[in-house]
Amino acid sequence: MSPELTPGPGAGGSLETRLEASICGKCHKQYVPVRAYCSACRGRTERIYVEGRGKLKTFTTLFVTPDGFTPPLVLGICELDSGTRVLGEILDYRLKESLEIDEGVIVSEKDGKYLFRLERGLSA
């Protein structure tokens, strides 16, 4: 992620939890992943960063996966504190049996994929 990006509304200072995003110049709707034009108003967007922190809204474990993935693959949707939702992979493998809707998640991006770590797993 390029260091000169400006913070989005409410984005904190920690480099570890920064997530690249887009914000519409006209209606201020935010997007993760980035996109060039706003799907709400067709306005041009600008690159910002937001806090990669939010709540898990739903999840599933895939036992039948597409080519290039090994089951079980755990996917979820996180609602970031900034309001945008993003689909990603839940990494804390040992905790997947006890996942709960609305639990805290830290989101990072690597090679075009979003990776979720559970907040409760970070201190364990």
Partner: protein
């Protein structure tokens, strides 16, 4: 705007077959034209989701029209992923309502079983957002994410999903066109392989071959198209307004009921897009049959059973009639035609029927279509 009617219908038996796509479409089209008692039509509207990927064929509308012996009639293809069969009906409806055409042949089909399940699953996942696919997202994976969010928000138990699968298999036993003509019990559903939890194998519709055809007309017949509506949603599931309801269905239903000038309580029978069992519950709420989050209670009471007050998926649905993706939307409408005419055989609903509704889901609910048919004669 002219009134639009249904003149004749035809369908192949759904399920794996040795027949090629054009052969299935021919069989359905000949039946529909015979049922309609027409030798000729003014135009042909063809639907197929991915013949390019499934069988390596493109330019499918000219190919099919040639195969049917209908050169030089104008022909186009319409594609909206898994609602394609309803989208061709939508397109033909407005072409006829404009007054420019009198009879249009609409026909849809898909040949899915040639490549095997893994390749077909990959082809079906091509309709998803690029980022969600890159994460390993598949159609069942995204349906499972919706299912868990819905169950959490509504309190819907596993039992309601099972009920949908058992009901739709039971109906399909009586449907000679169905892919699966065998019953399943709750234990079989609930011990089937987990695909993407909470969805098991018997929560998912199968890969099927099949074709469906219809002659639509501006000449008066006993079956009128009373309403139609079409809505679109953002391709990324995560970026939707709701994870427990499909706004594209809501938009489509509102338009269809407005055009028909009736309320959802007037509907006597429905075919709802149950590609995954939770979609039948959500679909019944989104078209306005039941309040948000309450479908599962109504369904467990037997409200949507074949002998209930509002039979849903008398055909067996996508779940058990089968799901040749391009054809399912039209097959749903054909089932309503058969039911309104009293031609549905062993699965004929006993009570008097006037209004029937279909709801078709394109992709992960990106292009949803609702139709309302009325028996006028």
């Amino acid at each position: 705007m002219r009134n639009v009617y249904i003149r004749g219908v035809g369908m192949t038996k759904f399920g794996p077959t040795q027949s090629r796509l054009e052969e299935m479409m021919y069989e359905a089209a000949v039946q529909a034209m015979s049922d309609a008692a027409v030798e000729d039509v003014d135009a042909v509207v063809v639907g197929a989701m991915s013949p390019e990927s499934f069988t390596g064929e493109s330019n499918i509308s000219a190919f099919i029209t040639d195969y049917l012996g209908l050169v030089p009639k104008p022909t186009i293809r319409i594609e909206t992923a898994s609602s394609t069969g309803a989208a061709i009906f939508d397109g033909a409806f407005f072409a006829l309502a404009s007054g420019f055409f009198r009879n249009i042949l609409v026909l849809a089909g898909e040949k899915m079983t040639t490549l095997g399940t893994a390749a077909a699953t990959r082809i079906l996942s091509e309709v998803l957002s690029p980022q969600e696919r890159r994460q390993g997202g598949t159609m069942p994976a995204l349906a499972a994410l919706v299912c868990r969010a819905y169950m959490h928000a509504s309190g819907c138990p596993r039992e309601a999903l099972t009920y949908v699968a058992v009901k739709n298999h039971r109906n399909a036993v009586k449907n000679p066109y169905a892919h699966f003509q065998f019953p399943v019990d709750a234990a079989r559903v609930e011990t089937s392989k987990v695909i993407a939890d909470p969805l098991r194998l018997y929560d998912c519709s199968p890969m099927s071959d099949g074709a469906a055809a219809m002659v639509m007309t501006t000449d008066k017949t006993p079956i009128r198209v009373a309403g139609i509506g079409h809505g679109t949603d953002y391709v990324s599931l995560a970026q939707r307004e709701s994870l427990t309801s499909f706004s594209s269905t809501r938009v489509a239903a509102q338009k269809a009921f407005k055009l028909a000038e009736i309320k959802p309580s007037k509907i006597d029978i429905a075919e709802i897009h149950d590609a995954f069992t939770p979609f039948e519950l959500i679909g019944c709420e989104d078209v306005g049959f039941f309040d948000p989050g309450t479908s599962w209670k109504e369904i467990l009471k037997g409200e949507t059973a074949l002998d209930g007050p509002l039979p849903v998926n008398p055909s067996g649905g996508l779940k058990a009639r089968g799901h040749p993706v391009g054809a399912s939307g039209l097959a749903q409408i054909i089932e309503i035609v058969w039911q309104l005419r009293g031609h549905a055989g062993a699965r004929q609903v006993g009570k008097p029927l006037r209004y029937g509704l279909t709801q078709s889901v394109g992709g992960m609910a990106t292009s949803n279509i609702v139709t309302i048919l009325e028996k006028t004669g």
